[in-house]
């Protein structure tokens, strides 16, 4: 990771109209709290010193998931070139939590932001050999042009925000 890579990642996100911020892990909880729309659901963050704020319901029920305005999940890694976050499927439900609510807040360690798709595939393949074998590369907001014009927020989130942990 270099500052350049994170800068590039943020620029790619901005081009996709996904907001982002770079914060220390200690500030993550507070920043996530500001970034979510209520009601919010989330899955546990695996970053030392960073946790979900109380306002975010961890281990949601399907009913809570269905009603949530925001879903917060960690990203295994991110690809600066495209503004992509890699969300791994887990028992905790990262896949549905990142998908169902209209707003997705992804949290990624700065050291996990890689430069380009080639590096992203290297990370993906590492994950595969470690048993993390279901991953989505999510880039920007859900979109369709099928209804006679470009619209965001179809089956997936129509808004996105990424919190990059600068010291993780």
């Amino acid at each position: 990771m270099t500052t350049d890579t994170i800068g590039r990642f943020e620029r790619s996100l901005a081009a996709l109209e996904v907001t982002s911020e770079v914060v220390p892990a200690s500030a993550a909880s507070e920043r996530i709290g500001t970034a979510v729309d209520d009601p919010a659901v989330g899955t546990a963050l695996p970053f030392e010193g960073a946790s979900l704020p109380d306002a975010v319901t961890a281990e949601p029920t399907p009913a809570e998931l269905e009603n949530a305005a925001t879903g917060v999940t960690p990203a295994s890694f991110a690809v600066a070139e495209h503004g992509t976050v890699a969300i791994a499927s887990s028992e905790r439900g990262d896949e549905p939590v990142s998908l169902y609510p209209d707003r997705h807040v992804a949290v990624v360690a700065g050291s996990d932001v890689v430069a380009d798709l080639g590096d992203g595939f290297d990370r993906l393949l590492e994950g595969f050999s470690d048993g993390r074998e279901s991953v989505v590369f999510a880039t920007g907001r859900s979109a369709t042009a099928d209804m006679g014009g470009l619209v965001h927020g179809v089956h997936g989130p129509g808004e996105g925000h990424v919190v990059v942990l600068e010291d993780r």
């Binding site: 269905e66 499927s89 887990s90 028992e91 989505v136 880039t139 859900s142 099928d146």
Partner: protein
């Protein structure tokens, strides 16, 4: 069959599509095509990626039986099931059983089992929805375009954008009729919001989620889904049963092989650098299943404690693919990644959409391969002739499939499948070709042997021109060989280019005349293609004058046809013979170090592309590397010291509009012409339209006349404001001269010195 009664019907059907669906498809397809070009341009290593992707597909198809075993082992080890279905009925029956069992396991509290689906051409191919509905299953498409098609009870008109032919207004009308909603349908956002809510509910209730697969990774059992909406993810992970239906050709060996495709597929399909969601699922996945109704709705989704009760079935469909794999000509079709780039790049597709340029399931240029392989030759016969061989799809295809060649081969096979025509005597004496008695329709044999026709017409000009212009003759031509009477016929010159050149002293005199220029120590053989020789003789004369002025002596021997005309009619045996004859006649010149200069881009394209399949490799290489498009050649001469002052030059910024030629563009030969025009003091503006729509014989044919003119009008519109217009191809010039009502010469006629 000479007076095929279906010609009029075909014309009528296409005219209707032009006016209805084509109006909507054209801007969308051409916009996607422009976006694809821009997204390709961003990739510095585009060609490496395409070659790599192609090689992976070649290897995968080669190793297919082994990969099927590998994926079976991988999926079963993961806890899923693999079923290889021989055909549509087999696949449908299997899926119906899975749904039956899933419903009996019963998380659903509604009366009928329900299935949610993400978009999949493979399930369209087997009519899975109809089959399931017959079994009492409710099936909901969740991709918005596919859902609209389902509501409309239509078939997809585009591989990627199934509802590409429907306007927003029409979609609103359809949904209003079906759902009688309380909300207003003013904008695309209104429609999308309604669809999201309605389909969201269907997904939450469903017993089974069915997806296709863009790629199936054999050694891990990973299903890759490339989508923008997010519906495929939801279908795959919400219900506890996931069925993925994929053709066996979707298998790739390992995860490493996925990367070039992820890099290419969104670019080629929609011009995006990457699609919103590239989902790589190795099912059954650890994601918790979601029950939005019933007692579990209030239990945390993680409650099952890592015990995923998911069920996964991978249905691999053969349905003719194994036979395609064994067919040397159709095998390439299996490399297709279904991105629809060949449709977007195709001028005829842009005009009529996939309901015109498509078969039972697939549409666009590659559809000929798919339909012929999966549904039989007849399924391809209906639309195959809409491929004019313009080759604009060749650069678009991310896996380098020679789509025009597949169309040519299938056309040849369709021809051969027909009974010999009753009017064959009309051409038999005239044109002893290699397809005699083989059932090739009369019109195709006429156009495929156009050189012989032109020779005779030239010899009898101006009488032949006068006769051909009379009403009774036009009516006869329309009835027998289907030449539309609205189309101007070529005017044949009494003195051919070859005769003119001989009358002016032949090669020896040319050598004397060329001495005035800078000595470049090159000699050229000008290939007198049929049109230059008998019709557009002026551009041939301009070429001779240009080359001599630049110091290159020329010879213009009488040479056989290139076979281009035969190829475009699917007469491969005739083309093959022509290629050998022509190479035989040119071999001595090439061995003597002479350059072969070609004016007509489609003939050069034959030398550089199709001859690879018709000539021995060494012969092909010799001809390919020693033949040049005229402006490419002039550019080379100027680069090597020839005096630009010998040409007819302008002041420095004289505007000129230049329409290259479809095949010339595919050969990357637009640039040399614009460069030469610039060096001669012009400011060339090039056109954006993919093809003029005339495409040799295509624009003459009664059933395609309207389609041809439609494409021509798009091009003419671009050129309307230009005072001076030049075009490289004979067809392009003919089409433009008719539509713009003024002369459209070859660039060499503008650049050549007056004499």
């Amino acid at each position: 069959m000479a007076s095929d009664p279906s010609r009029g019907e075909t014309a009528e059907r296409l005219r209707h599509l032009l006016e209805t669906e084509g109006e909507i498809v054209r801007p969308r397809a051409s916009e996607d095509n422009a976006r694809r070009e821009a997204a390709y341009d961003e990739l510095a290593d585009l060609e490496t990626l395409r070659t790599e992707a192609r090689a992976i597909k070649e290897e995968a198809i080669e190793r297919l039986p082994e990969l099927i075993q590998t994926v079976r082992t991988a999926v079963e080890e993961n806890g899923g099931t693999v079923y290889v279905a021989d055909d549509a009925a087999d696949a449908n029956a299997y899926v119906a059983d899975v749904v039956d069992v899933a419903e009996a396991d019963g998380r659903s509290d509604h009366d009928r089992p329900s299935v949610v689906k993400s978009k999949s051409m493979t399930t369209e191919e087997i009519d899975l929805n109809d089959a399931l509905e017959r079994e009492g299953v409710d099936v909901y498409e969740t991709d918005l375009g596919e859902w609209v098609i389902q509501v409309a009870d239509e078939s997809p008109s585009h591989i990627v954008g199934p509802a590409m032919h429907l306007s927003r207004e029409r979609i609103a009308e359809l949904l209003r009729e079906e759902f009688d909603p309380d909300v207003e349908f003013e904008t695309a956002a209104d429609l999308t919001a309604f669809a999201r809510d309605y389909l969201g509910e269907r997904i939450r209730e469903a017993d089974v989620g069915i997806t296709g697969a863009n790629f199936v990774v054999a050694d891990s059992g990973t299903i890759t889904l490339v989508t923008n909406e997010g519906n495929a993810r939801k279908c795959a992970v919400t219900p506890d049963t996931h069925v993925a239906v994929a053709g066996i050709e979707k298998l790739i060996p390992s995860m490493e092989d996925l990367e070039p495709f992820v890099n290419l597929i969104a670019r080629s399909a929609t011009g995006q650098p990457i699609s919103q969601y590239v989902t790589m699922l190795t099912p059954p996945t650890p994601s918790p299943t979601l029950e939005f109704d019933g007692p579990d709705a209030d239990e945390p989704i993680t409650a099952s404690d890592g015990e995923s009760d998911r069920e996964f079935h991978l249905v691999l469909l053969d349905n003719g693919r194994t036979a395609m794999r064994e067919d040397d000509q159709l095998r390439e079709t299996l490399y297709c990644i279904r991105c629809g780039a060949c449709s977007n790049a195709c001028v005829n597709f842009q005009s009529v959409g996939g309901h015109g340029f498509g078969g039972e399931t697939y549409s666009g240029g590659i559809a000929t391969g798919w339909e012929a392989g999966l549904h039989g030759q007849d399924a391809a016969a209906e639309f195959n002739d809409l491929c004019t061989g313009c080759t604009r799809c060749v650069d678009a295809c991310p896996v380098e499939i020679d789509i025009p060649w597949i169309n040519t081969v299938v056309r040849d096979r369709i021809n051969r499948g027909k009974d010999p025509g009753t009017y064959d005597f009309l051409v038999d004496g005239l044109t002893p070709d290699a397809e005699s008695g083989s059932g090739v329709p009369l019109d195709k044999r006429f156009f495929g042997n156009v050189g012989t026709v032109a020779k005779l017409a030239s010899a009898t000009a101006p009488l032949s021109n006068w006769l051909a212009g009379t009403g009774p003759v036009r009516a006869l031509l329309e009835r027998t060989i289907g030449i539309d009477r609205r189309r101007d016929l070529p005017v044949f010159q009494r003195q051919s280019l070859v005769d003119w050149f001989e009358a002016n002293g032949g090669a020896e005199a040319s050598r004397r005349r060329a001495r005035v220029g800078t000595a470049l120590e090159r000699e050229a053989v000008l290939y007198p293609d049929v049109y230059t020789n008998y019709v557009d003789v002026a551009r041939g004369k301009a070429t001779v004058r240009t080359l001599e002025a630049l110091g290159v002596p020329v010879s213009v021997p009488s040479l056989p046809e290139s076979g281009r005309a035969a190829l475009s009619q699917g007469m491969i045996a005739t083309a093959d013979r022509r290629a050998s004859e022509l190479y035989g006649e040119l071999a001595a010149d090439i061995d003597a170090g002479r350059d072969v200069v070609v004016i007509e881009p489609s003939d050069l394209a034959a030398f550089r592309r199709e001859y690879e399949r018709l000539l021995p490799e060494a012969s092909f290489e010799r001809l390919r590397s020693n033949s040049y498009e005229i402006c490419e050649y002039v550019y080379g001469l100027l680069e090597n010291g020839a005096d630009v002052g010998a040409l007819s030059t302008a002041d420095g910024d004289e505007p000129i509009a230049y329409h290259s030629h479809c095949q010339q563009r595919t050969l990357d030969l637009e640039a040399p012409t614009t460069a030469v025009l610039e060096r001669c003091g012009y400011t060339p503006e090039t056109t954006g339209s993919e093809c003029c729509g005339m495409a040799g014989s295509f624009g003459y044919k009664r059933e395609y006349y309207d389609v041809s003119v439609d494409a021509g009008e798009q091009l003419a519109e671009e050129l309307e404001g230009s005072e001076r217009v030049v075009a490289s191809g004979t067809s392009c010039s003919d089409q433009l001269e008719t539509l713009l009502e003024r002369p459209v010469p070859h660039p060499i006629e503008v650049l050549g010195p007056d004499r």
